[in-house]
């Protein structure tokens, strides 16, 4: 009895639309023109808001924020592929998907201005969308739990959750995939591998050749996709969702992309990476190739592009105006939501706080 092989595994890569806009016809998803246009519009909308936020931040009109430029494809494609009843469980670089699901532009502005207001969504939007997850990786477990609940209730719905490449190093990533796998819960795990976790490059984060293969540790089907290719993202996510709806459990998707900007506005990438690397990835960013694809299909031209950009910039303008015209909630709001009902000892502090504020403003 020699060493015998017990099990074999492989990891596949999927690309539908390459960085030059060249399409693999066989793999092209069957999407209506309207959906393709919505997908593009969704990505551009996120880009426009993102870039405007960068300006606002530099002008001191909002606080520190983490741009999503270059990473529009995975979450926007997910939002397109998802049903209303699926849960969107994001990390913090899914602006495209959040907006696509109906989150108002103003929420992001409020949020990054340090207001809890930014987390309060219109009811229908917030119902199955979780707030930004700042503690890296923790949301992955929430998605597994949500998946369990959906399955228990017999709903034909799934949870779609996102995390970065860095997040895959956290224990919660491991526990989340393992729980979901054991439960065969309807969850789609999408790791946006943007090559960096602040200053830590992918090679220092983990020694595995791919992030995708981490699924093997849990018996979870896994695939790597070109994360700047919205069509590939869509195909893989749709497939994973169908599997989830059929009761066949979770999938891990690695979306290979790149963080084109700084980690957050407090970060200076020149400390740790080259302009050259950034330039290479600017060539591969997701919008240009999608625009080429739409043009080749006869769905797009320069005039349409210009009109879209203008329209979206105006929308962002309006949102910024609305944001800046909005009076924040009162200072004592944090006392309202410690618990569903307040407690005498907390209410006492509340009154003390209000009295102190008054005294200070009188002084």
């Amino acid at each position: 009895m020699p060493r015998k092989t017990l099990a074999e595994f492989k990891v596949e890569h999927l690309q539908v639309l390459d960085e030059n806009g060249k399409l693999d016809k066989e793999l092209e998803p069957d999407l209506a023109d309207g959906d393709l246009l919505r997908l593009y519009r969704g990505m551009v909308r996120a880009r426009e808001l993102d870039q405007r936020m960068l300006k606002l931040q530099r002008q001191g009109r909002i606080g520190t924020f983490g741009p999503c430029t270059g990473q529009e494809a995975p979450s926007t494609a997910a939002a397109l592929a998802m049903q209303d009843d699926d849960w969107f469980v994001g990390a913090f670089r899914e602006l495209g998907g959040r907006l696509f699901r109906g989150e108002p532009l103003t929420n992001t502005l409020f949020y990054y201005n340090g207001w809890e207001e930014g987390n309060v969504l219109p009811k229908e939007v917030g119902r199955r969308m979780t707030p930004l997850a700042v503690v890296v990786g923790t949301q992955i477990l929430h998605a597994a739990g949500i998946g369990y609940a959906l399955k228990l209730k017999g709903e034909k719905a799934a949870a779609v959750t996102f995390c970065g490449d860095g997040a895959t190093s956290e224990g919660d990533f491991h526990e989340g995939l393992n729980f979901a796998a054991v439960w065969q819960a309807p969850v789609v795990f999408i790791s946006q591998n943007n090559q960096w976790a602040i200053s830590i490059p992918r090679e220092k984060q983990t020694r595995s050749e791919t992030i995708a293969q981490k699924g093997i540790a849990y018996g979870v089907p896994c695939i790597q996709v070109d994360g700047n290719d919205a069509l590939a993202c869509y195909v893989a996510i749709k497939e994973a969702l169908e599997r989830a709806y059929r009761g066949e459990g979770p999938t891990l998707i690695e979306a290979v992309t790149y963080r084109l900007m700084m980690h957050t506005t407090a970060d200076d990438p020149t400390k740790y990476r080259t302009k050259d690397q950034e330039d290479v990835w600017w060539q591969k960013e997701p919008l240009i190739r999608f625009q080429k694809y739409l043009s080749a299909k006869g769905l797009w031209d320069d005039a349409k592009e210009e009109a879209l950009r203008e329209e979206l910039r105006a929308e962002v303008d309006t949102a910024v105006k609305e944001f800046e015209a909005t009076a924040p909630w009162p200072l004592d709001r944090p006392f309202d939501h410690v618990f569903a009902e307040t407690h005498p000892s907390i209410e006492k502090q509340h009154q003390e706080y209000l009295a102190a504020l008054k005294e200070e403003s009188d002084a």
Binding site: L141, H142, E175, G176
Partner: protein, 325 residues
């Protein structure tokens, strides 16, 4: 009224609530088929099936993290940490998410869940199986900390904890799991969270205890009361948010107070109680408040554990000293 142990009483509460509300489920390591290492979840698996009595993989952050997801999605999970000594692995999820989801989303998403955990010493268990760290959880805003002291209030508080719209750490004094029985009413009894219970009324001295410390404290109180002293004994029941009104009203009346705490002394619950007394009724004090507590040492192995937890004799001495001050 049946006489139940605390294990049976908590088991009863879980059973009642799972029968009444199909959103309720239990989850954790060995809580299903095995019925829990202390048998607290015994029989739930047979009665409610494996999907509502979930044997999870061995991962505490995983247990709480998925429970949070379930709670956000409309379930009411009761998650077990097999021993409180392993609960530190889930503090990230507790502090970062369970206790914040309501305020983060201003009530749009909430985390109605219970984390049960046996805590405390006195059962000759291995390292990490005997700590008492309620203060750790009490300092995090947005979460409640509840500690029953006997079968009857354990059942009534568990019902309240499950129905509470906010996350609750429910710490079960494992020393009291089977050491005595109490009548537990057949009909539903629910105690409000956030309220202490006056176990004995009295005028000369206020004594505050909770959890497993209640039994030796009652013993000490009764011994001293026999000498004609009138002692008011308060059982905290909820550690956070703390019912300072009941304590301070009592101390205002008695002018003297002893607090009995199993945990290491410093930065514990007794300190907060003293601070509340200081805030509200300092001028009524006729003696320093006495803390009878564990010590600021790493919890000894069980061979040397016993005298590190305030025994009745030490409590009795403490009461007398405070009375004689």
């Amino acid at each position: 009224m049946p006489k139940l142990t605390m294990v049976q009483a908590i088991n009863l509460a879980l059973k009642e609530e799972m029968a009444r509300d199909d959103r309720v489920l239990v989850m954790g390591e060995d809580v299903g088929v095995d019925g829990g290492v202390f048998r607290v979840t015994d029989g739930l698996h047979e009665e409610f099936g494996e999907s509502r009595s979930i044997d999870t993989p061995l991962a505490e952050s995983g247990i709480l993290g998925t429970a949070i997801g379930m709670a956000m999605a409309g379930l009411r999970p009761v998650a077990e940490m097999q021993f409180s000594g392993f609960s530190y692995l889930m503090i990230g999820q507790w502090e970062g998410n369970a206790t914040r989801m309501r305020s983060r989303t201003q009530g749009q998403h909430t985390c109605p869940l219970v984390v049960r955990m046996p805590y405390g010493g006195g059962v000759r268990a291995l390292e990490h199986h005997s700590e008492s760290r309620e203060a750790t959880y009490a300092h995090f805003p947005g979460g409640k900390v509840v500690i029953p002291s006997g079968p009857r209030n354990a059942r009534a508080l568990m019902l309240a904890a499950i129905r509470d719209p906010d996350p609750v750490v429910f710490m079960e004094p494992k020393h009291s799991y089977r050491s005595f029985r109490e009548d537990v009413p057949e009909t539903e009894e629910v105690l409000p969270l956030g309220q202490a219970h006056v176990e004995r009324e009295g005028d000369d001295l206020t004594v505050v205890a909770w959890g497993a410390m209640m039994r030796p404290t009652i013993k000490a109180v009764d011994a001293v009361a026999k000498t004609g002293v009138s002692i008011e004994l308060i059982d905290l029941l909820t550690i956070s948010p703390l019912d300072s009104d009941t304590i301070c009203r009592s101390v205002q009346k008695t002018g003297r107070c002893v607090i009995v705490q199993e945990a290491p002394r410093s930065f514990g619950v007794a300190s907060e109680i003293i601070a509340r007394i200081n805030d509200e009724v300092l001028l009524y004090l006729e003696a320093p408040v006495k803390r009878l507590t564990g010590y600021d040492v790493v919890t000894p192995y069980f061979g040397r554990e016993k005298s590190y937890i305030p025994p009745a004799a030490r409590i009795e001495n403490g009461l007398r000293e405070t009375l004689d001050f």
